[in-house]
Amino acid sequence: MSEAVAIAHDGHSHDGHGHDAGHGHDAGHGHHQLTENNFLGLPNIKLAMWAFLGSECMFFGSLIGTYFFYREMSLGGPMPEDIFDVNITSISTFLLLMSSVTMALAVDNARQRNFGKMRAFILATAAQGAAFVGFQIYEFSHFVAHGLKLSTSLFGSTFYTMTGFHGAHVSVGVIWLVMVALLATQGKLNKDKIAINVEVMGLYWHFVDIVWIIIFTFVYLLEFTR
């Protein structure tokens, strides 16, 4: 929510270098410092996002590490190879991967000030993200139907915690994307600040994708190696 509001209020030209009088200071929305360049000449909002994503590395690193620590240590219940479906997961993985492409194109169009195309790519990204979450909901209910619950085994606990947090991140991203697209539709975005804000939203989105790249390979595909 607050991000979306911030999107309407802050912004700066991309890449954080320089800075031109026409950009960034004409919003009349008070003294938002987020997209101002700091003493490094970098926009604070982008620095903040990278710092946040660094901490997210640790977060997901521990969740994936814990999954591996307890891998194959379950006493009972369904095992990964009993319930994983490589076809379904490959489709949803591919969707998420392609959503990174549409996200990159949205950022590019925001920089080109093609706001119509930007919005279309943002919505395409959100749609793919939503489809990914849909696949995950399907997968989880399928697993529960096969007797794997959060409390069934070490596999259940570590798997649902890890992938559940990832799915929650995707969901937050989808909400963020949809809100920005809505604000763009209503013309409520500051056109001079939109590029940096969409770029920062893109950083978050790509991060969610790279976490899945790791989970897909090391959690799912690993079970299908002989």
Partner: protein, 249 residues
Amino acid sequence: MSHPTHADGGHDLPHSHQKHYLIVAAVLTVVTAVEIGILFLPAVNGTWWVVPFIGVLAVFKFGLVVGEFMHLRPDHGVYKFLFMSPMFLALFSFIALSALAVVTYQPFGGGYAITQRDRKAGFVPPSAGGGFEVAWPEDKLKAAFAEAEKGGFAKGKATFASTCANCHRGDGGGMPALGPNMTDDCFKHGGSLAELYTTIGKGVQGTAMPAWSTSMSPDAIRQAAFFVRSLKGKNVAGGLECVGTKVAD
């Protein structure tokens, strides 16, 4: 000043990267297809290098998205530092955890249970009798129970301490979210000797209660059932709430 990547003076628009992004997208697609496809090649899947290979591909995709889509490669070093130092820290904790799992691994979890890994490795515990037989008739069980009672349920008691106490607590009082109280007179799956024997042998699907017939002989399971039955009605202090229905006798 920062690190300029593209000319963006005044109101000039930065040049578009769209073509570049589409090339990256194509590479990502091909790499993912290779990653998945390789698992369907019986000649390849099974060789030692498959796991490292798909690992390298995943790291490559990771780098491609971070470097190109997230634009980190040409971007300012401060961003790189902010992202990559915790990333490597996370990587090292991951490696440390995995190494710890290997180093601390013991067959049968150090003696009390068969894990999935033990089964995959083909370990068969010394006590396993192989297979799970149906419960004896109740009168035969009662006679065996009386026999065990004379010995103070020593065998079942030992099994319980080593194998069941992790979830049901040393005195059988149960542990929240792990295993129910064995010392009340409530049972979800029945309190007769035959029912206890079957529950312990088959486990309770969809709960943490494992099927012990995969790791214990029928006799060991019977002895455990006798001991559990002997706990009934002891109502140890601090035991969990009753779950299931009361069994009078």
